[in-house]
């Protein structure tokens, strides 16, 4: 449903996205694709290109089988889009707005009535559908924008940070809604909330600095990441000798040491070949040090995210 090849876009001399290539919404990726990345990663820029709002500098992209540059109207008829800030016309009532949008999609009156009713239920607009949009709260407006994206029942739906500004109950409901949308639509959503993407997406693409850093099913990604999990141990004694002794254990690649009220908090990175917990314990008891805590820190997508973000900023 979404095919992207060597997509590049500059703003002046600033490269917002750099040679992106991916394909999504097929059998292998499932229908709910998460586009994950830190601020400024190029998520909104990519979505704007795929929704035909902006052209890219180079590369090819197609959505629902149509080229976003040369067949833009065909693409636009088949997509729903909720931009990051959910922009709406403040002077219109929510119902009027949805009808206006329906007309732009050339829906006849009976279809529009039915569609407005449907999205009102799906996006819980019942309480404020007849109030002017300018008087609605941020979260309510977000829901009106979401309703607009679903109105004409498009095969592909782009949501730029769909749960931003919602309360916890609404976040949960929206995630449930998105998961249900996956049955009949391809949903492409951006987010920098990791557990959100982990929870609702069937496929995750991680971007930073305009480049794809990793992609795969959420579980697959977590697995790949947790291979390099760390051991945290708090040991009392002379820190230099502790660090050098731990470093000399087989399988240990790196040790970070932090002093906390007389204790040394070690973060031990191993190559993942075997469990080193026993070795650490033996070492401590042989040397006569004290051990107050030892636990394995299973790396989450979160750690991966923070790590790649840090790598990105040092690489620049």
């Amino acid at each position: 449903m979404i095919e992207v090849k060597n997509l590049t876009k500059h703003y002046g001399s600033n490269r917002a996205i750099d040679n992106l290539t991916f394909s999504a919404g097929s059998e292998s990726t499932g229908n709910i694709i998460g586009f994950l990345g830190p601020n400024g990663a190029g998520k909104s820029t990519t979505i704007r290109i795929l929704t035909c709002f902006q052209p890219a500098d180079s590369g090819v992209a197609s959505v629902a089988g149509y080229n976003v540059f040369s067949q833009s109207m065909d693409v636009r008829r088949r997509i729903g889009y909720l931009p990051e800030s959910a922009p709406l016309y403040g002077e219109m009532r929510a119902r009027e707005y949805l009808h206006f949008r329906g007309k732009l999609h050339r829906m006849a009156k009976p279809d529009r009535d039915a569609a407005v009713k449907r999205v009102t239920e799906r996006c819980w607009l019942g309480d404020f559908i007849d109030r002017p949009i300018g008087q609605l709260s941020k979260g309510m407006r977000q829901r009106v924008g979401l309703a607009d994206a679903l109105l004409h029942d498009p095969p592909v739906i782009f949501l730029d940070e769909p749960t931003i500004g919602l309360d916890p109950v609404q976040i949960r409901e929206t995630r449930k809604l998105i998961r249900n949308l996956g049955d009949h639509h391809v949903v492409f959503l951006s987010s920098h909330i990791l557990h959100e993407v982990e929870q609702i997406c069937t496929h995750v693409i991680v971007v930073a600095g305009g480049r794809i850093l990793a992609s795969g099913a959420p579980a697959e990604l977590s697995e790949r990441i947790s291979a390099g999990s760390r051991l945290i141990a708090e040991i009392k004694g002379d820190s230099e000798s502790i660090v050098s002794a731990v470093k000399s254990l087989s399988g240990v690649e790196n040790v970070d040491c932090e002093r906390l009220d007389g204790w040394n908090r070690l973060a031990i990175e191993s190559n993942g070949a075997g469990d080193i917990r026993e070795d650490v314990f033996k070492l401590v008891s042989d040397k006569g040090w004290s051990l107050r805590e030892m636990r394995r820190e299973v790396a989450s997508l979160e750690d991966f995210f923070i790590k790649i973000t840090a790598e990105q900023s040092t690489a620049r």
């Binding site: 704007r48 035909c52 709002f53 052209p55 889009y81 922009p87 016309y89 219109m92 949008r101 732009l104």
Partner: protein, 238 residues
């Protein structure tokens, strides 16, 4: 065409919801009313609508920029342009819809001034043909002014900048053009005279509907609308 009508309707409604549009409406009616009062009943002179009509474009130079400044600037500022241009709407339809919506609002404004010829008809006979050609002239001037304003509104997301640029251009072509022309010689003088909106409009308030002058207004309006479309297209590439 349906899309244009949908956009036209939304624009007209938006004008009626905008406080600025009401201010413009009231200022326009009050100013033209004052001029009507001053000019039409000068002691010793015959009541004439012509002087009133002659001044209305000057009022429009001041109020048209206020009417047009938010048309597209606001869509850019609030980001609604993003939902519009990702729906099946092209640039030309958007410009045309905005233009027609504002033009209809202007027609409503003009309808308010119908009161003056009506009052005059109470005091004497009124030349219906003259009034008609004057109104057609005003409609053409208004259309051109709106097209200019729409063009500048497409150029920036700042309403104030859009309004000031519109005001400057309208002022130059409405009154400064004549003044500049009078200081020039030869071809430049002819060109400037030909571009003077006042000169073209004057024909209408003398009771003539001359196709040459109609063509001037229609083509210049179309030209600015076309530029507006091009600016919108260009802005997507940035």
């Amino acid at each position: 065409m349906n899309t244009v009508l949908t956009l036209t309707k939304r624009e007209l409604t938006a004008q009626f919801f905008s406080p600025i549009a009401y201010v413009v409406l009231v200022v326009f009616l009050v100013l033209s009313g004052i001029i009507f009062g001053m000019e039409s009943f000068k002691p010793g002179e015959e009541a004439s609508a012509r002087t009133v009509f002659a001044v209305v474009p000057y009022i429009l130079v001041l109020v048209a920029p206020l009417l047009t400044m938010r048309l597209l600037s606001d869509e850019f500022r609030t980001g609604t342009i993003e939902t519009l241009m990702t729906a099946p709407v092209n640039e030309a339809e958007l410009i045309l819809g905005k233009f027609l919506g504002s033009l209809l609002f202007f027609v409503v404004m003009l309808a308010g001034t119908l009161l003056y010829p009506l009052i005059m008809s109470l005091y004497g006979s009124i030349d219906v043909g003259l009034a008609l050609s004057s109104y057609i002239g005003l409609l053409l001037v208004g259309g051109l002014f709106i097209a200019v304003g729409l063009f500048f509104s497409a150029c920036t997301q700042n309403q104030i900048i859009a309004a000031i640029c519109t005001l400057a251009v309208l002022a130059v072509f409405t009154f400064l053009g004549d003044w500049l022309a009078s200081n020039q010689e030869g071809t430049l003088r002819v060109v400037l005279q030909h571009l003077s909106i006042r000169a073209h409009y004057e024909v209408f308030i003398r009771g003539l509907i001359d196709s040459n002058h109609v063509v001037f207004f229609v083509t210049s309006t179309a030209l600015f609308l076309f530029f507006g479309v091009k600016v919108l297209e260009f802005r997507r590439w940035r």
